[in-house]
């Protein structure tokens, strides 16, 4: 049923799976977001970038209802997330949080099983469907050989893939990622990003990702949104959204933007900070 839904939304690619409008949110009395509009198109990859403290992670938290906006709304497939039960929301949207807790003595399989929380009954008994979803998630993330290893014995990259497998086991059409490549070495960062890209292409998963590294965002995004000081300052395809002026003004970066000779996507060559110019 979920698959059918994804296919039908692929037929209308301009449909927004997640549409946040006029979001004002923050912690305590000081808002970090001053009326932000963000849409994640169905079946596409949308990335949020911006300097530290710009509010990009806050925006993702508002989308996943980890944070209640003081004003504005977040719709998923037209339904306000505030009106959905946590269980229902988890069936529609999975989230890979920034620094999840890894309990000791827990195997990859046991971790991924938790992704079925919203699908199983009060006693958490796994049925055939659940087993299938778990096996699929483990296979898609290439963790079949690690299924019975404890998560805390894995490398950073494998561990992050295990968390991604948990999110995939939710079988939700939308996947939210909050700086998923943090603390990974460079090779593992690209492996994870390529995995996300494959999921998007092969499974039709809608992705909304907060990324720290601009070159990652530029490679991955169908649609790139730049947030600065709680406002959207640029939005569009990577070639449109990223400009030398924007990098100077928002990131205080002296940089050139060139085309990757292999795929033609933008690559930011960083010369230094603006002040050293």
């Amino acid at each position: 049923m979920k698959r059918a839904k994804t296919t039908s939304s692929e037929a209308q690619p301009l449909e927004a799976a997640v549409r946040a409008s006029g979001v004002i949110a923050g912690y305590g009395d000081t808002p970090l977001l001053h009326g932000v509009d963000v849409s994640a198109m169905s079946g596409r990859i949308t990335t949020l970038v911006g300097p530290n403290g710009c509010g990009k992670s806050t925006m993702l938290r508002a989308c996943s209802r980890l944070l209640e906006p003081t004003s504005g709304s977040v719709l998923i497939d037209g339904d306000d997330v505030a009106s959905l039960s946590t269980r229902e929301l988890a069936k529609r949207m999975a989230l890979l949080a920034q620094s999840p807790v890894v309990p000791g003595h827990l195997s990859v399989r046991q971790l991924v099983e938790q992704g079925r929380y919203a699908h199983v009954g009060a006693l958490g008994m796994l049925r055939r469907r659940d087993d299938d979803a778990i096996a699929r998630a483990i296979a898609l993330t290439g963790l079949s050989d690690f299924e019975h290893r404890d998560v805390d014995t894995l490398s950073g990259g494998e561990r992050q893939r295990a968390w991604l497998a948990l999110a995939l086991a939710q079988e939700s059409p939308v996947l939210l990622l909050d700086e998923p490549t943090n603390h990974l070495d460079v090779g593992a960062q690209w492996e994870l990003l390529e995995l996300v890209q494959q999921l998007n292409r092969n499974e039709g998963t809608t992705v909304l990702a907060v990324l720290h590294e601009l070159n990652h965002a530029a490679k991955l995004a169908d649609h790139l949104i730049v947030i600065d000081d709680g406002r959207v300052v640029a939005s569009g395809a990577p070639w449109e959204a990223l400009t030398v002026e924007l990098l100077r003004d928002v990131f205080r970066l002296d940089a050139s933007i060139i085309a990757d000779p292999r795929d033609g996507l933008p690559v930011i060559v960083q010369h230094g900070s603006v002040s050293s110019q």
Binding site: L66, A90, A97, P100, P103, Q110, Q114, A122, L123, H148
Partner: protein, 350 residues
């Protein structure tokens, strides 16, 4: 399907572990029932329980006294072990346990205050009433500890211990005050606090067993809640959990389990802390396995401690005071063992 053989090996290991555990518990039970001033064989035990004409009076008394005592040890230990496993998942902290998180002290203080000042201020308060009072006291104190330790957002392990110490001190002074007013009932109360299992009646066994049976469905419900919660609040929310509701359900269930477990036997310190630690390296932290395993470990701990208490005459120990006609309470052995274990855990955590 290349993972078939490792799975088979794991299942085999698990079956072996389960068999060994069951055998150990059976061995512990037979020692607990068989060994003592009168040695009971299986047949003389059954004869004693049935008050057969060919059983001696001493055998009848020993059979009943030791069976109720062993049953109470298993029930209380099981309840405390399960409660500890739930609390450690809830707090995401290996140092959490009923004694550290204010639950035990709250339950104990409530019972003592009730016995001393309650409407029916007699020592004959039934175990049912004691259990209910313990549930109210343990839950109030458990909720307070949890609430205070979460004030700053996340629960820092050291802060939790500080709050536990603080609350323990406050409750201990309330206990002392009640004891001053308890008059001639004070020795009985002190004995209860120190955790002794002797002269357990069948009624008391059935009441505690019934209480734990009533809590079983709630415990089963808490297992998936705790597994989700152990991943952190954000991940628990992301997979579809209503986090505040899950926390409350787990805390109340753990408090009730502790309260029912100690309603008759009083202070059995550290069982809830130690039992999950004994189980976790063997079965993992998935609560579907850890909860029953921690329960069994707790039952084993209390059974062993009570076996020591029953068979180690204080007069044989080099104690600097007169111990004639006294037996040591099981809680003493648990406190010594648990205390050492606690120090080791702190050293590993901090």
């Amino acid at each position: 399907m290349s993972s078939h053989s490792p799975t088979a090996v794991r299942n085999e290991r698990r079956a072996l572990l389960a068999t060994i555990t069951v055998l150990l518990v059976a061995f512990g039970l037979s020692v607990a029932i068989g060994v003592g001033s009168v040695t009971l064989t299986p047949s003389s035990w059954i004869a004693g329980l049935q008050r057969d004409s060919d059983a001696s009076n001493r055998e009848i008394i020993a059979a009943h006294a030791r069976t109720t005592r062993a049953a109470m040890a298993v029930l209380a230990g099981f309840g405390l072990g399960v409660s500890g496993a739930l609390l450690q998942a809830l707090y995401r902290n290996p140092l959490a346990g009923p004694s550290i998180t204010g639950v035990s002290q709250g339950a104990i203080t409530a019972v003592i205050v009730w016995v001393t000042f309650g409407p029916a201020a007699t020592a004959e308060n039934g175990t049912v009433v004691m259990a209910l009072v313990a549930i109210v006291g343990g839950s109030a104190s458990g909720l307070a500890t949890y609430g205070i330790s979460r004030l700053g957002g996340s629960v820092d392990p050291m802060r939790l211990i500080l709050i536990g110490v603080l609350l323990g001190g406050v409750l201990a002074s309330a206990t002392s005050f009640a004891l001053l007013r308890a008059g001639e009932r004070a020795p009985a109360i002190i004995r209860w606090i120190s955790g002794a299992l002797n002269s357990t009646s069948w009624d008391e066994v059935w009441i505690v067993a019934g209480g734990l049976a009533l809590l079983a469905p709630f415990t089963l419900w808490c297992i998936p809640l705790g597994n989700a919660l152990a991943l952190g609040d954000e991940s628990a929310h992301a997979i579809g959990q209503s986090v505040p509701m899950a926390r409350l359900a787990m805390l109340l269930t753990a408090c009730a389990l502790t309260a029912v477990s100690i309603a008759r036997v009083g202070g059995l310190a550290f069982v809830g802390l130690v039992a999950p630690h004994l189980a976790r390296p063997r079965v993992g932290s998935d609560l579907r396995r850890l909860v029953p395993a921690a329960g069994l470990a707790g039952a084993g701990l209390v059974l062993i401690a009570d076996g020591l208490a029953r068979n180690l005459r204080p007069s044989t120990l080099p104690l600097p005071f007169d111990t004639a006609n006294n037996t040591l309470p099981a809680g003493l052995f648990l406190a010594v063992f648990g205390g050492l274990f606690f120090v080791r855990t702190i050293r590993r955590t901090a």
